[in-house]
């Protein structure tokens, strides 16, 4: 019986292997979250899949968040990796500038990343370099903006009867 893998042991192993590339870590609600430079994500995810100790070989989720006020790191890309053997989850995040939101595709590591990356491109405009077919997936092809970015409001911005100030935001 293997000893149980905890967030601490995962983090220690990652820090031993990648050192300074682990820019930041936190544990919101027990979910180990690390921040790495965008160029390191591919290596890290690829290594996690084959690592004998961690065995993190399942991609649960891939998505992005837009933080318009965080200059130079407006787009945050999240990867949720899960180890079925140890039942430990890891969230990897990388920040990208809005001018050039490019990151290496992980479709060569996980087939399942294909549509998730296309969806993230579709809604946030993240360019996944090396993706075999980076086109829109849920929105129509002729759309010329990335609708999940925060500058696009859900409702008509000229409406005055629904002022956000009256709703606490």
């Amino acid at each position: 019986m293997m000893s149980k893998l905890t967030n601490e042991t995962v983090l220690t192993r990652l820090q031993d292997k990648f050192g300074d590339a682990i820019l930041k870590y936190e544990e919101p609600y027990g979910f180990l979250t690390i921040e790495v430079p965008a160029e390191k994500t591919h290596n890290l995810i690829s290594w996690l899949k084959t690592d004998e100790v961690l065995k993190m070989s399942f991609l649960t989720l891939l998505g992005a968040v837009h933080y318009p006020n965080d200059k130079g790191r407006e787009i945050c890309v999240n990867y949720h990796i899960h180890s079925f053997i140890h039942n430990v989850r890891l969230r990897i995040r990388a920040f990208l500038p809005i001018e050039n939101p490019a990151i290496q595709s992980i479709t060569d590591i996980y087939m399942g990343a294909n549509w998730l990356e296309r969806e993230t491109y579709d809604f946030f405009g993240v360019i996944f370099e090396g993706h075999p077919n980076l086109t829109r997936i849920l929105n129509e092809d002729s759309m010329d903006y990335f609708p999940m970015r925060k500058q696009y409001h859900l409702e008509d911005a000229t409406r005055e009867d629904k002022d956000d100030r009256y709703f606490g935001r």
Binding site: P28, S57, T60, H80, G112, G168
Partner: protein
């Protein structure tokens, strides 16, 4: 199974003779249960490749969620996998409870388990009986839809709705199980197993059905994991991953149930896994119902999230204030990032919620299991016949609402 010797006889000529045709399967087609477009390249009956188009019923749920107060997001989740809406509803409520840090009474958990397992039965009944329809056996379908109707009547007793249930609240249930619910559930538990056994007898060892489904649309465990499969489809391929057992929520650790797994990952295994899961769900419901704890059907500690009784709203100042705050979305929530997942009808349904403390989520991403595993469809049907492709799709339980968000 493209070129195995026993399969070779299916095709008159294995070589491509230059007469390759393009065939549109969908977007609307009676054999695809929803809006799915697949442009097939076929050589006679044999599929050489497929290009999928998704997004025909995209409704921008994630964008909508960024504008809606937390309690108004539950109806959005109804429309993901609409064959088992209560699981989605309660998954979302549990996500919010995790963010806020609410402990709900044991009774709420058991009530949730009963409803979620009923929803799983309804979901699997639809999927498995439709596999029957696509193989030409309509009878089982008509009988199983009667049973599904009874589950919908049970939903109706709890929340008043049938398909898009919007069931439960953050912190519990809107009302306790009614006496009619108890009566109907007892009848269901007594009568359903017999009817289900009849359905099982019709198909499970039926020679025609077996010939039709064994080896149809197979996927290996490695490929399935690579594609991000979860739920019955992954288990049919032989990986025993089930969120209920791996990361128990809503007191699932209290119940005794097994996780059925298949070996081949083909249509027959997917069918078998779902059949057994229905039995296990029944077992869970029986255990939960027998041991249903006494207590409240909601958490009394969170008046700022759980709508007060209408009688109180009209007569008590405090209740009126809370009612107003909840309806207008004025309740402050903690800043935080939370991921919560439940075992949905067709896989791990996850909610990745980022809250900035405002009245609506800053970002909410749904992990929609069938959006992720439907990617493998072209690989699974390549080398098969067109009728196998139809069967593979129905056995994967791809739900358009969940696929397109």
């Amino acid at each position: 199974m493209s070129d195995t010797p026993e399969n070779k006889s299916l095709f008159a000529d294995e070589t491509i003779d230059g007469q390759i045709a393009t065939l549109n399967l969908g977007p609307t087609h009676p054999a695809t249960h929803g809006i799915f477009q697949n442009v097939l390249t076929v050589d006679g009956e044999k599929i050489l490749g497929s290009v999928q188009t998704v997004g025909y019923i995209h409704r921008a749920f994630e964008k909508l969620a960024e504008r809606r107060p937390y309690n108004q997001i539950t109806p959005i989740t109804d429309r993901l996998n609409y064959c088992s809406s209560p699981i989605n509803n309660m998954g979302w409520e549990m996500t919010m409870e995790k963010l806020i840090g609410i402990e709900v009474p044991k009774r709420v958990n058991y009530m949730r388990v009963i409803i979620m397992e009923l929803a799983r039965i309804a979901d699997h009944l639809v999927c498995n009986s439709v596999i029957g329809v696509d193989t030409g056996a309509l009878t089982g379908f008509t009988y199983m839809f009667q049973e599904r109707e009874k589950i919908y009547e049970l939903y109706e007793e709890v929340c008043g709705a049938r398909l898009t249930t919007n069931m439960g609240r953050i912190g519990g249930f809107e009302r306790d199980f009614s006496p009619t619910f108890h009566k109907k559930l007892q009848v269901f538990l007594k009568e359903f197993p017999k009817r289900f056994q009849e359905f099982d007898d019709l198909l499970l060892r039926n020679r025609i059905f077996m010939d039709r489904t064994i080896g149809t649309g197979p996927i290996s465990a490695e490929r399935a994991m690579d594609y991000g499969f979860t739920g019955p489809n992954l288990r049919a391929a032989g990986v025993d991953y089930d969120v209920r057992a791996m990361n128990p929520y809503a007191s699932y650790e209290d119940f005794d149930f097994i996780i059925p797994v298949g070996t081949q990952g083909d249509t027959y295994d997917r069918f078998c896994v779902r059949q057994e899961e229905i039995r296990q769900s029944l077992r869970i419901i029986e255990q939960a119902y027998k041991n249903l704890p006494e207590g409240k059907h909601f958490s009394p500690d969170v008046p700022e999230f759980y709508l007060p009784r209408k009688e109180d709203v009209y007569t008590k100042m405090e209740a009126l204030i809370y009612h107003f705050k909840i309806v207008m979305g004025e309740t402050p929530v903690p800043v935080g990032e939370v991921y919560h997942s439940v075992e949905g009808g067709n896989g791990e349904l996850g909610f990745h919620l980022i809250s900035d403390g405002g009245r609506t989520p800053y970002r909410l991403q749904f992990r929609r299991p069938c959006f992720i595993y439907y990617q493998a469809y072209p690989e699974m049907i390549t080398g098969q016949t067109i009728s196998d492709a139809v069967l593979t799709m129905s056995s994967m339980n791809v739900i358009a609402g969940e696929l397109d968000a």
